[in-house]
Structures are given as structure tokens and as C-alpha cells.
Amino acid sequence: MARSVTNNRKIINTTFAWAIGLLIFFPILWTILTSFKSEAQAIAAPPIFIGFDWTLENYRVVLERSDYGRFLWNSIIIAGLSTVLGCMIAIPAAWSMAFVPSRRTKDILLWMLSTKMLPAVGVLYPIYLLFIKMGLLDSRAGLVVVLMLINLPIIVWMLYTYFKEIPGEILEAARMDGATLRQELIYVLTPMAIPGIASTLLLNFILAWNEAFWTLNLTAVNAAPLTAFIASYSSPEGLFFAKLSAASTMAIAPILILGWFSQKQLVRGLTFGAVK
């Protein structure tokens, strides 16, 4: 009897989890399906789910019209370097807050988080003017710095909560064995926090990849990433949903594949430390 109840609950839970999962994934699935429709089928009412004439025409048009490779390369560089740079700054910061806290540590953490509460548009003009002065407009270097800075509070917070899980005694033991601070960070702390660091890196890479305010406002041609690529297919006057869907699918495909391959690490990292 008990086994049957458990099995029933399992089936219900699994069905529920799948339903939620499909619900969350549905917009992405719909975008992918629409990318293979004609423009007329894309707006058909009632919507056509599967039974349409599959076509690669939208992908052909998008590839012909835009230099996808350039946008993709910019996204990889900007998201990748901003994440790595952020981690290089955040690991020592989070170590200090987790293992050598001061009376103001909590305040600093909250203050860091508060910078995320200001709408980005509020600082658009100051940042834009700074970029003009420093010659950073439409440069990948400029975007790397900006995206690193806007994601830094999240990286520090995530790493801080991971590090808090690690017993301080282990680090103390390393110190007693003569490890320097650098050795302690690199050889003791980092290997133990690898799942946490990996999930932080992944999550921030995704955040930087999808960032669409600064990447649209601070770029033109040379540094424009995939967000600008998608924006170039959006139009309030004209029905180009199938082409927009093809562009969106091409923009999210790399990050979707990356997420698919690293889902185990991502889930383990997220459930282990920060978000729980």
C-alpha cells in the first residue's frame, strides 16, 4: 500500500515537473517551430503547430542579409571575457567576505546588490559620455568592462554563499602547513568550490550573452553581438515573425547547446550553494 502511494506520488510529481518544464520551454519551442514556417503560416489563426510546410527559407534570408559569424564572435568574446574577468575579481572579494568578515561585510554585500536596483537607463548618459571620452564606443573592450561590472554583484554574492559552505578550518589547516594566501586561494579553496564556481561562470555567461540594454546602446557595427542581430529583425511595421524567429533561434542556439551539455554542473552548483 505504502509502495503504491509512493509510486503514485512519484508519477504525479514527475508529470507535474514535466508539465512545468514544457510550459517554460514552450516559447522557445514555438520560436524554433515558427522559424521553419512561411511568413503567412507564422501568423495563421488558429496557429499551426506541426502541420505546416517546413522551409529553410528564413534561415537562408537571414544568413544572406546578416554577417552572423561576426555577431556570434562578438557575443562569445564579450560574454566570455566579462565572465572570466568578473570571476578574477569576485573570487578574492568573496573569499575575504566569507572567511575574514568585518563588521561591515553584510552592509557591503547589500550595497553591492543595491547597484542592481537602479534601472540601467538611469546611467545611460553618464556611461555613454564616458565611453565617448575614452574612445570605447562600439568596442568589445568597453562592453567587456560594462558587462563585468553589472554582473559583478551577482558573481560575488553567489561565490560568497558557496564559500560560506566550506569549513574555515580547512583553510586554517592549509595556513598552518605554510600555504600563502595565493596558494590557499588557488590550491585549497578553488578546487573545493569548483561546482559553485562553474555554475557561477555558466550563469553569468548566460546573463552576459542575453544582456540587451548595454549591448544595443553602446555598439553599432564592430562590437554588436547577437542581441543586436535579433533586434535588426524586429519591426513594428511589417510581418517578419518567421525571419525574426529564425534570427532568434540562431542567437540562442549556442547558449542552449552549452546549457544542455553543462546542465549537470549547473544544477549541482545551483542546488549545492547559492540559490537554495
Binding site: 503567412a40 489563426a45 548618459y125 564606443l137 562600439d138 533586434a231 519591426s235 511595421e237
Partner: protein
Amino acid sequence: MSLKSTLRAATALALITSSSAFAEGHSATITIATVNNGDMIRMQGYTDQFTEETGIAVEWVTLEENVLRQRVTTDITTNGGQFDIMTIGMYETPIWGANGWLVALDDLSEEYDVGDILPAMAGGLSHEGTLYAAPFYGESSMVMYRTDLMEAAGLEMPDAPTWDFIAEAAAAMTDRDNDINGICLRGKAGWGEGGAFITAMSNSFGARWFDMDWNAQFDTEEWANTLNFYKDMMDASGPTGYATNGFNENLSLFNQGKCGMWIDATVAASFVTGDDSTVADSVSFALAPDNGLGKRSNWLWAWALAIPAGTQQEAEAKQFIEWATSTGYIELVAENEGWANVPPGARTSLYENPAYQEVPFAQMTLDSILSADPTDSTVEESPYVGVQFAAIPEFAGIATEVSQEFSAAYAGQQTVEEALEKAQAITNEAMEAAGYR
């Protein structure tokens, strides 16, 4: 990490992140910010021809209209210098021209023939008589209707209908059982969406945004009549959820045969008669309606090419503008894609061309453009230039807020009276803060 390896890493980073040059083998490269619409995308396809002729390479930054507006505004107000040519509209041009942010287009070549630009377009893209942007294409608004449904309703659409006729025809064509709405109109919040439509409509009802002292006029009977008429007609004959419908939503409904009439931009004519339309064979056109007060409810708009002051490539940018907005470009498109696909509404000579006169919507587009006058758009005198907008910097912000209130009234979240009261307060407050009152 040693100093040496730090330097190596920094050099590598700089190399990876540095911007590459794109002017491969060209004398110059110009960067153009533009909107994503059919005509602009078509022009991008012909850019190679311009490069071949002049040796000037062109880089395009294509963005959605609202994103583009924010992007180019940020750049021009900070003198960012990211673009050599910007695609802007009739709203921005006179304001930016007055601020000295645009290069005056007063020295275009003789072959270009500035005098051929439609006077309404030239007027709307000028400040104190100086042209600041060259129209790539122009548009007004008109009635697009289904001839089969009109016939079935036993009615005949006049060339210049009144609002009463439109409401009557809409009611007669509505067939809820078969999902046919008599009329589809914009109701979506946004100064360029539902805001543009209702402002143009209000002109024909004798309403205006401001009196000569810049006082808001939403407390007048004319505005109440406009909004009540719109809402009553749409509640009776419009599609469900019309309060959130914009151009694309209505285009989609019309192309699927779910609208008897649609009053919107003249550029939509090529869409509703195109391959993606299921009703292409039974569409005809009429002037936007009026109320017998001497003003019709059609708007006037142009997407135009302008050069931001301070660009390093002014001469090359002018060369491109002359090429892209010339009669030669129109002929190039006509030769390759047919006359129905040339950019409309910019040049007088296009409408004198017998080949273009064969295009079904050509004459109605011209008549609509000619019947809109941005310098005299309201029945009573008003202090602003513009048909569906007032060409002052504050307008976009105010009209967006006002249109949100109107949309809420269409959706039944508040009454028309409440929406107008709020619109009056919002507008007067903003105008006072801006120092107009």
C-alpha cells in the same frame, strides 16, 4: 603571475577585444542607422551597386523603430559620432534641425532635383525653410477595405467617406459568427501606435492638442466626441482586444480576412495586396474619413535620411543620400522588382509616371499625402507643426502617457471621461514643467 605574463595577457585581451577595420579596399566607409522595414531592407540589398559606383563602403545598423529612436537620440545628443547617416522621421527632423544637430541639405546637386520632392514631405522635413533630411519614402493613412464584404453589405464606399458612413459600414460588415470584424483600428498604447491614430482622427473631429497658449485641450467636447465615437464603433464592430492592437496585429487580421475595413498607413497597401494576403484580390482603397469640418483623419509621415552634425564623412554621406533618394534608385527598384515595390510618397515625378499610375494604390496614396498638411492640421488654430504629433521635444513622452490612458479606456479599465481628465492633467503638468505655460 609575473609582470611579463600579466603584460602578455593584457596584450592578448587588447588584441581580441580591439575592433577590426571593415573598410577593406574602399576609399571610405559610412555607417547608417536604419529601421527594419521592407523598403529599407530592399535598399540594403542594392548597396553594393552604390559601392561599385562610388567606392564608398556602407555599414548598416538595423534596429527596431523604438530602439533605433533611443539609440540615435542618445548618440546625437552626446555627439557620439557613431553614425554618418540616421534614418529619422518627420517628428525628429524639425526639432533636431532647430537644435543644430543635423547637417542642412541645402547644397544637393542639380541632378538630384530637390524641387521634385513632394511639397508636404519637404515641408515636414525642414526647419525654417531649410531641408534637414531627404525622404526615402513617405506615407499617409487611408481606408483599406474588402470590396466583397462591402458589396455583400449592400453598400458602396465613396472615395472620400465620412466617419458616419464608416461606422455604418463597419456595423453592416461585422459577422461575429464568421469571425469578421467590420473595422480594425490601432488601439495600442504608444505615441507612434494608437496615439498617432487617435490624434489624426481627432483632427477631423475639430479637436487639437493645444490652444495657442499651449494649454491642453482634452477637456473639450471635440476630444470627448472623438474618443466616444472611436470606442462605440470599436466595441460594436472591432476585434476582441483591439486596445492592444497595433499595425502588425491589424495587418495580420486583415490579411487573414478578419477585417472589413482597416484605416492605417498607406505603405500597408503593398502588404494587403501582396503574396501573404489571403484577400489580395478583393481590396480597394479610399481616403481617410472626415466629419465635414474641412480636415480629414489621415496622417503624414516620412522615413528620411539625415546627416548628424559632426560626422567626419559628410561628403560621402551626402553622396549616399543623393543616390538612395533619387529617381535613379526608384527606377533601379522598378526594373528589378516592379513598380509596386518602389519606395512611395517622396517624389512628384513618381506619380506622373504612367507605369506607376497603373499600381492600384498609387493615386490614393498621393491623394492622401496631398490632403495632409503638417503646418495646418487642425480645424481651430494650433501652435504646433505636425498632423499626428506636435513637433516639440516633449510630445513623445506626453503622448505615450496619454495614449496609455486612452488604451485603458478602450479596454474598459476606466471611462472615456476619466481617461480625458487624466490626459488633461498629464499634459498640462508636463507643459508647465517644460516652461511652455
